[in-house]
Amino acid sequence: MNYFVTLTLNGLASGAAYAALALSLVIIYQATRLVNFAQPALALLSVYTAYTVTQLTGSYWLGFAAALTAGLLVGAFVERVIVRPIARTSQLNAIIVTLGLLLVVQGGVGMVWGNEQHGLRYAFSYVGRFAPSDVFALVSVGVAALLLFALYRFTPLGLRMRAAAFHPEAARLNGVRVGLMLTAGWGIASLIGALAGMLAGPPFLSPNVFDVVFVFGITAAVVGGLDNPFGAVIGGLLIGLGKSYVSGFLGPELATLAALVIVVAVLSVRPDGILSRPTARKV
């Protein structure tokens, strides 16, 4: 029983990172109907930036801020300069360009920082059951989700971004610069992705540290519904729990395959995720 409680708490803590990563995927999917497979690589770049800043300044929190800033800038840059000109040619090319980015950034990180592991410390102590770092993970993701909700729901920028995502032409006819909104969306999404990276990265960084994290992140997004930010957060926590139980009771090697089973099972019953709503758009 005690073991079960430990697994549950661990699962929730790691689920926070999956929720954040899923959220970053959903933000971009909502805006552009595109799954950004480069998201883990952008997070990787952000976290390595944090590593370097922390090494130079000795301050974890300066590194943390650097990671979020790097995420915002890199996400915006990548959308504007690389993804947009290619994504408009075809749906498949849009997927492939994010894969290309993934390869380039992951390899680039390996070139600059090397393939060997680097230590990156947690924000807070990680000792014990439901340690301060676990609490921090859950709280920071919760706060990020609330801020995001407020941004979209209550600010003019959020209204512009939603209009641009749902109905680009109507947005343009109301003076919204749709392209700029896409860039902003990618920036914000990558910032959240960087947060996910800062939570999931420690204790050791290596260029493919996020491969498995990404699997759970995308599982969370898919299970919650790619169109549903709320679903992404719930999905992330559920996947964190599921992964923790499978690892704890069956063995960690099977966790990713368990994710596959969950995805297939959920999508076979609900092809657009658990929380998908019937589409509101009527013609």
Partner: protein, 334 residues
């Protein structure tokens, strides 16, 4: 001339071309020629799945892994079986895997299918660690396969012989793929790709067609993986990473979707961009970190540039060029 016969003739021509190439270039490039061969078979299978039936799979490397491990296990545990029988067993195993994956994912669409297959690509190598007694953990399995038969001693080297074996299998596989693609199943796949609802109303069994595409792709991928194990003599989970799966799909789009020629350019790109990047890093003495990562970065950069400037891939660009030359040619002659 019936289509299968024509494809077989083309296959024989292709094999002759490869043999000629090997004769000219010699032993050193034989391994690379073999690598282009099995990679092309894998990409061609993916081509049928993605270009033919419209199902985007990010997990094609998983099928290669299944084929490779099947080959290694057969060589280790059933050493008396001839190579052809091994390849036959690999196809059978891959078909079963294809049915399983295809049936499980038949209801998934678009990004959801891509996500699920991505998870497969990341998750499957975990099995090698989980069952390390049987599959050898991260060190994988090492096998020893027969070289050239004695009567060819001195005529061809072991590497050249292996390259020829690989290409013989590959051209037969490609001929089969081309025949399927041109036949009724191919037409059904394209109908499903263009519009599932319309295809269903026209009487195409949509679910079965999608599963069939997965089965064929899996067979091609498994066969390619088996050939890879045969050539390299070693199978490790580290060779079937997510990057491999992504590279296969990316190379397909880079080469040009919708044609076997695209698969050829794709496999050449996969093998040779890697070689060139490694040579370059070594020649420039850029250090180990750069050398290890340059191939994948180089590939990614080329991919993005091709997509940016030739959205239809290398094959599309060559076709455009050909058309333009023909127009120019007819313009001057008239």
């Amino acid at each position: 001339m019936p289509l299968p016969v024509r494809h077989l003739l083309l296959a024989a021509l292709g094999l002759a071309a490869v043999a000629g190439l090997l004769f000219v270039t010699g032993d050193l490039t034989a391994l690379r020629v073999a690598a282009v061969g099995y990679t092309m078979l894998a990409v061609a299978g993916l081509q049928l799945l993605v270009g033919g039936s419209g199902q985007v799979s990010l997990g094609h490397g998983a099928f290669m892994m299944i084929g490779a491990y099947t080959m290694a296990l057969l060589v280790l545990h059933q050493p008396s079986l001839p190579l052809a029988a091994n390849l036959g067993v690999i196809v059978a195993v891959s078909v079963v895997a294809g049915v399983a994956v295809g049936a499980a994912t038949a209801r998934l669409h678009g990004p959801y299918l891509a996500g699920a297959t991505l998870i497969l690509a990341v998750g499957l190598p975990g099995l090698a660690h989980r069952y390390h007694q049987l599959l050898g953990g991260s060190n994988g399995l090492n096998i020893r396969t027969a070289g050239a038969p004695p009567f060819l001693d001195g005529l061809v080297t072991t590497s050249e012989w292996r390259a020829l074996v690989v290409w013989t299998t590959v051209v037969l596989g490609l001929a089969a793929l081309a025949t399927i693609s041109a036949g009724r199943l191919g037409r059904r796949m394209r109908a499903v790709r263009d519009d599932e609802t319309a295809a269903a109303m026209a009487g195409v069994p949509v679910g079965a067609t999608k599963v069939a595409a997965f089965v064929i792709a899996s067979a091609a991928g498994g066969l390619a993986g088996g050939l890879q194990a045969y050539v390299l003599g070693t199978v490790t989970p580290g060779s079937f990473t997510l990057v491999l799966s992504l590279t296969l799909l990316a190379a397909l789009v880079l080469g040009g979707i919708g044609s076997l020629w695209g698969a050829l350019w794709a496999s050449i790109a996969i093998v040779y961009l890697d070689v060139w990047a490694t040579d370059l890093a070594r020649a420039a003495d850029l250090g180990r970190d750069v050398e290890n990562n340059l191939p994948v970065v180089f590939f990614g950069v080329v991919l993005i540039l091709v997509l940016r400037f030739w959205p239809l891939g290398v094959h599309g660009a060559l076709r455009d060029l050909g058309a333009r030359l023909r127009v120019a040619g007819s313009g001057t002659s008239s």
